[in-house]
Symmetry: C2
Subunit: 351 residues, 2 copies
């Protein structure tokens, strides 16, 4: 440790490689033997070289993960948790740091932008939708760094996004119920600000329309916000009417959980009196009583794909914005039974 100033060229000399090789090691580019990399890292530590913190917080680049403030426990959330896990895993593989960033709906996105985070990050993924208005997206875009939406799309903006096949998911559950013979079907939908839930709803409606069915408005109650169990109030509303349906579609697993609670309280049996099916295939859905028939949305894969997409955008590839959609899959469990209820025009029971 003489008077050698810590610079790339000096490290190169000390480690007996070329400056290029040192650079490649620091930026972990491919094509370096592990042992060489090891030696160079050692030399770097030895000479006390500080990797210059330009546009990133350490070595490698960083990507931002923008999530809603109100979903703070989002990492433990069953749906987004899986997505984030996939995202993080893939980030590690490609040598990115993931910088988590909250999003406060009351202040808009000014918060995020002002913190100067945008300067430190090569690209953003916006996970969880709803409160990302087109105006905010325009603001974010004005930073001219790549953005990828996850489980959200704003068609007017033509942004690259990664989605579950929500339309098909809705179509698939609905088809399933129709195939079982159900005709009197209720639908518990969600707030229209979530584009993914809207897509699911449209899938349901398309399937029903193909069977020349329309859901009566009284069987499509508006979602209520505030209640902890999302589908509970909606389901109650349906059950209070004179006639109730033979099957219910819940727009998400969580909604289904609330609805099941309401059905049980009302003294009806699932699936004998009312069949229920939903979309998400969260872990819990396999452990309800009865286990919930639902549609799998490959959450982990979506996280992986979101990072891959962002990576390519950062590399300047993928100049055509597209929706990247992962395949969904119907998971038949017990909440819809198997037999065809002979409901026809007359309800099997009345209120």
């Amino acid at each position: 440790m003489g008077k050698t100033k810590p610079t790339m060229r000096n490290i190169a000399k000390a480690a007996q490689v070329s400056p290029t090789t040192v650079w490649m090691v620091i930026h972990n580019k491919p094509g370096i033997a592990p042992e060489t990399a090891q030696r160079i890292w050692a030399t770097i530590a030895n000479l006390g070289y500080k990797v210059k913190p330009t546009a990133n917080g350490g070595h490698g680049e960083s990507v931002g993960l923008l999530i809603e403030q109100n979903s703070v426990p989002v990492i433990s959330d069953v749906f987004y948790g899986e997505i984030i896990r996939g995202f993080q895993t893939e980030a590690e593989r490609l040598g990115y740091h993931v910088v988590l960033s909250m999003f406060d709906r009351t202040t808009g996105n000014a918060d995020v932008l002002n913190r100067g985070l945008a300067q430190k990050v090569s690209g953003f993924v916006v996970a969880n939708d709803g409160d990302i208005t087109p105006e905010m997206v325009i603001q974010l875009e004005s930073l001219s760094i790549p953005i990828v939406l996850v489980e959200n799309h704003i068609d007017e903006q033509r942004l690259p996004c990664v989605l579950g096949d929500n339309f098909m998911a809705g179509y698939q559950v609905t088809r399933h119920l129709l195939n079982l013979g159900h005709r009197r079907i209720a639908l518990l939908h969600g707030p229209t600000k979530y584009s993914s839930l809207v897509d699911r709803l449209r899938g349901c409606m398309a399937a029903l329309a193909e069977a020349s069915l329309l859901i009566p408005t009284e069987w499509m109650p508006k979602p209520v916000s505030g209640h902890p169990l999302k589908g509970y109030v909606q389901m109650k509303e349906i059950l209070e009417q004179t006639e109730y349906p033979t099957a219910v579609i819940a727009i998400s697993d969580k909604t289904a959980f609330g609805a099941m609670e309401a059905i049980r309280e009302f003294g009806l049996k699932i699936p004998d009196d009312i069949a229920i099916a939903s979309i998400d295939n969260t872990l819990e859905s396999a452990y309800t009583r009865p286990p919930l028939t639902t549609v799998n949305i490959p959450k982990y894969e979506m996280g992986v794909l979101a990072l891959q997409k962002l990576h390519r955008l950062i590399q300047g590839e993928d100049t055509i914005p597209v929706k990247t959609i992962v395949y969904s899959e119907l998971i038949v469990r017990e909440s819809c039974g198997a037999a065809i209820p002979q409901s026809g025009d007359e309800p099997t029971h009345s209120g």
Copy 2:
């Protein structure tokens, strides 16, 4: 030209570069100065070196483009022509040869496979859908070379595919007509074997269902095959009834052309008596009388994306199969007018 045997090492010596460089030039890998490449190609020609024909027909790799036999003039076809143009352009950029291959529906795909084409090609794109049955796809997959579907998807098989946003396209036209006040809407759909047309149809139905509308079956005539003008017979069928709609949605531009012909023959004015809109935005659609309101499907971009996707699959990337969907856009022209027609029994607004 002494006794130098034409081998990579000899070429390298003659051109005063390393064998590696020669290899890179032949396989057109990036990172070679154009002048150097030029010099090496000259030397190759000079010494009469034959690039060994392993797994490809010349230098660089090849990709197959599989299209239906009956659409032989597909290259000049307005829809697929654009896709193929994008595909070919991108192929050239990435150094692939495109091998065109017909697909005879009568013999199944045995033809393609037996010709040994599969051995010469690193991957396939299946353009144009309809007659690709799941069984054939399984056969193709058994070759274990990458496949990308264009404007077709088979959800059970989870294949990578590139699609227009057909669902949204259908949704958008329908919304447009609904926004103009139309409630009495007919729909000219296509054969269900074309998944893209099915998606468009579902988009239409979803939009209508959101407005609590169902299309009466007599306004959704079955498509007839055989007639040169696709929508002509279907439209006639509708016009022969006692009541006719105020608007017609055609599932494709071609269908719309036929329908317009039928409407004119019947002595009705477009858009005053009947509005018409469709999906495709083929070149001709701008030059009909009146110009056709339609939804643009970015065809060229789809071709580019299909090749990029195939390229990545060949590289062993993109292990998660996804639907890649390009954004569609409503193109408002004159075939729907602008005013709200006061025809039919429905007022402009319902309370």
